[in-house]
Amino acid sequence: MDQRHTGAKTEAENAAQDLPPRFRDWFAARGWQPRPHQLELLRLARSGRSALLVAPTGAGKTLAGFLPTLVELAQGAPMAAASSPPPAERRGGSGWGAPGPGREAQDDERIASSDRPPPLAPPRRKRGEGERSIHTLYISPLKALAVDIARNLETPVAEMGLGLRIETRTGDASAHKRTRQIERPPDILLTTPEQLALLIAHREARSLFGGLKRIVLDELHALVTSKRGDLLALGLARLRTIAGPDLTMVGLSATVREPEALALYLVGSSIVPDVIPGQSAEGAQGKGIQQRESSARPRTANTPPGSPSLASLAGDDTGSTNPPAAIVVAPPGAPAELTVLDAEAALPLAGHTARHAMAEVYDAIRRHKTTLVFVNTRLHAEYVFQELWRINEDGLPIALHHGSLDASQRRKVEAAMAEGRLRGVVCTSTLDLGIDWGDVDLVVNIGAPKGASRLMQRIGRANHRLDEPSRAFLVPANRFEMLECRAALDAVAEAAQDTPEPRVGALDVLAQHVLGMACAEPFDALALYDEVRSAAPYRDLTWEDFEAVVDFVATGGYALRAYERFAKIRRGPDGLWRVTDARTAQHYRMNVGTIIEADMLKVRLGRVMNRKPGAPGTVMRGGRVLGEVEEYFAEGLTAGDTFVFGGEVLRFEGIIENEVRVTRATAADPKVPSYAGGKFPLSTFLAARVRAMIADPSSWSVLPAEVAGWLARQQDRSILPGRDELLVETFERAGRHYLVAYPFEGRLAHQTLGMLLTRRLERARLKPLGFVANDYGLAVWGLSDISAAISGGRLSIDALFGPDMLGDDLEEWLEESALMKRTFRHCAIISGLIEKRFPGQEKTGRQVTMSTDLVYDVLRRHEPGHILMKAARADAATGLLDIRRLSDMLARIRGRIVHQALPHVSPLSVAIILEIGREAVYGEASDAILAEAEAQLMEEALS
């Protein structure tokens, strides 16, 4: 055993020598060198540190994440045996390089070194039983990724004869497999956040995870930005409680601007309660709880030359029991070759289709082996796919891949891609993350990228070899998008990234978790409160909110105590909360998770019989299912409308028993245009760059002539806003009076702003008729002269955009806002107030739906301070209504509004008012629509 070579070695080389011989041999046999960051992770694991690895695609992140586990498990394993030895022999524990200590010694050590408060409840198992435990848990946002990683791990494990059991647990796992995994846990389990939630809610959770040593979190940057991230953080907090301080975490992330937030998420913040657990919850009221957290400030450690840069998160250790996570940054790969496509045809002022550039996109596909063409929405994918086939003279195999296609169809495309049979795939964010499908050598991004990180992720799909540059084309569809693409390009060149906003943990997710914890074992409210606050998103959770959530889980938490008798969880004389019956746990299992799919309807192809004019005719039953569309899209169709789906033009016949019935249309051009606006709003970071670019004419040289000329004409005929200013233009055109503003804050914030401005203009009797919003600005139009109202002193632009619109105006609007109702519905489902529909329970045919809208109306009127209303409001601030961003913007522009009353349309505004007719015109669905419908009846009667 030549463990150490002599001579001066860098730290990394020393670490390489610490690889057990069979690992070194295995690397050597493959002609590979362990990468410095892989060894760095090994070193950190040896010292019991958690780590965040920030690395570009192709840097061997997965192996880096698992290497410490494999080494640790291998060191306990007999060298030759490929069969499964008993777990106790395999487990090395923390004694690296030495024969693994026995399990008992390890447990002693753990207890001795633990300065954590005692576990939530007395451990049920006796010492020694913990052998039946998972060693390493891997969590991925995608089921398919977990399965793929498991497969990839098998190779080194088999070749080195490590004899480890590696299993996946996904929603598809059979009941038999699930039971077996609890009874005989594998060494490494690969799963998803939802499955983790189910596992920690299991009665056997403590024995299953009692000996857990390591958690590997893949694509962490993608996980933490949503409610799924909240759920996962709560799960990790529980695992830390169960497994104790020996547990280390590894986060794997793509490049992000501020990895510190991710590092904090990884280990959480420790809270040492001053109150003794078990003290009555009522008595404490949170006042006696002192919060002592790791301050977790980043500090850059000395970086030895040639090793990955290592920023160490050295927390001040007082009060912290979680060692802070180290941040390991792998060197970037070869810089990507990025080009913004300047098509021969002039770039349109508005629109999203990028039709003008299809010939160039097609040509690019022809010149490469395999091209991924990314677009932002499913319907846009349909459109691009159709356009490419229209000009596909060479009959290149080009396929379509998006989330609403039938799963079997998607699997076929993926398989064909993996086999290298496809030249192009038009896809949506479904292929942003995850598995490498085949040898992609070009990525085309149609439309604006919306965020620098998303763009990086997509570019990374081309070429998974680190040392070769990825190639990508950006194809802006209009002039604003050109600016955005340029901004993204510069951002990527500087490796500047969007920073995922740290989340404030959602209360509806917490409610789900609290019920899950009661299903696992009786809990003490104070101890659980401390555990929850150790999860980064919940670090600032107040005791009052926590208590309200527990109360909500128990009986609905209403001021009118109507449901005491039917409580789901109840506090016993011992002070512990437990579930009241087995049914509750069963319901919990059926409803776990935070992903509320938009209500989707199946699209079924049929034939129509007996068509009469004006009547839907009889659609034959049966027929093939083509996929699914969002319910709201189907709602907008009337019989006879044609639209593109699955690459074909279809005729909408009607919705029958919750299915969209369609027939093949003969028309080549669909009547209903593919809505192709962005699904993701423009990131704050890119928006700031776009504003800066507009404000600085010296930066226009990189822009195509027509775009630079467009900005120059704007400067001429109106004004260009400074980078922190808001330009508002008013003018008349064809009898309509327009107000156009350019906040560059993303479509969602603009929609909310548009709703509120419309209300205010209505109150000012300026008769607004409607508005459109895109990512860059919004236009409101109406019947009264807005310029005259401003010059006549009847309307103040500063007052119109005053932050007080987020007060009463917002409140009034929220009362009836469909977006707010949808937000509430999501909270109601996630929190368990109402049950998710699950297969077999969907009502078919005739249904009297009791919608959550009715529940919202009643709750808002009778208990507006209820915890679920609070949850919905918090969601509205960041979600569909993006109120937080709007509020930041209103603060930013105070005193910096530049108003231009123009005698004509301005060049910039053209790009926004051209959206009218293309984008949905907003205004809440309201009585005005009913009045219009009534007027039509009147016309019918009179005609």
């Binding site: 909500f552 009986t555 609905g556 938490g557 209403y558 009118l560 109507a562 449901y563 039917f566 789901k568 049914r583 509750t584 319901h587 709602e635 907008g636 009337t638 009607g654 919705i655 107030l833 109402i834 049950e835 005739r846 249904q847 009297v848 739906t849 009791m850 919608s851 009715l854 529940v855 109306d857 009643v858 709750l859 009127r861 009778h862 208990e863 209820h866 949905a920 015109v921 205004g923 809440e924 669905a925 309201s926 009585d927 629509i929 009913l930 009045a931 219009e932 419908a933 009534e934 039509q936 009846l937 019918e940």
Partner: protein
């Protein structure tokens, strides 16, 4: 009768009888001083509560307060509840004290008729008021489930709702459905859902002619059959 368009009541003729459609979902017969409401479904929320779905327990309050507002405005001599007034047989027991009191206040000083429905074949015995399976006012038949019998009829049970779609916006509201002879009232209860008028269950009742009076914020809106869309 001369009623301005923005009044909450909308005059129609029902089987020759003057009738007013209120934006709350109530039908008022001014000549008879009679207010008709259908499908209150009191304590529907708590019915879910007993099964572990803790819906806000304020639906009875919301329903009764809305009813109180209509009664206060129209001052009927008589109120007819067209069945399914109570969500189930135990509903009265779950009705909160304040809500029960409010109901008693509404019933005091006027005739009150409970038509029986499938949810409440036997309205609470001690609740007061009269109970019947069917009633007639002049030629107008008042029943819970609509029938195919001849003659004018007002019924509930089916919870009609209508959807229209204009300029990219879709509005779905509860509605009165009527052909001028028969009428199906919208459900009045706060948690009572709606069934789309395009559902085939409605077709036997309106073979020739149908107008939906959709409930707006301040008044009802008459919408023709051709404008109505399925969900």
């Amino acid at each position: 009768m001369n009623v301005a368009a923005d009044m909450p009541v909308h005059p129609v003729l029902l089987g020759g009888l003057a009738a007013m459609l209120d934006a709350s979902g109530a039908l008022f017969l001014p000549d008879e001083g009679t207010l008709v409401v259908a499908d209150l479904h009191l304590e529907k929320g708590s019915a879910y509560g007993t099964r572990g779905q803790f819906l806000p327990p304020y639906d009875s309050r919301a329903t009764l307060e809305r009813l109180a507002e209509v009664i206060d405005r129209l001052r009927p001599r008589r109120v007819v509840a067209l069945g399914d007034s109570f969500h189930d047989r135990q509903a009265q027991g779950r009705l909160g004290h304040a809500d029960a009191l409010l109901l008693q206040t509404l019933m005091a000083g006027r005739d009150w008729l409970w038509i029986t429905g499938n949810h409440d074949p036997l309205p609470p015995a001690d609740i007061g008021g009269d109970v019947a399976a069917m009633a007639t006012i002049g030629a107008l038949r008042l029943v819970h489930e609509p029938t195919l019998m001849d003659g004018p009829e007002a019924a509930g049970h089916l919870h009609p709702a209508a959807r229209v779609h204009l300029r990219g916006r879709s509005v779905r509201r509860r509605c009165f459905a009527t052909c001028g002879t028969r009428m199906i009232l919208p459900a009045f209860g706060a948690y009572a859902g709606g069934l789309n008028l395009r559902d085939r269950v409605f077709s036997p009742y309106f073979p020739a002619f149908l107008t939906a009076y959709m409930l707006g914020q301040a008044r009802v809106y008459a919408v023709g059959r051709r404008m109505l869309l399925p969900d």
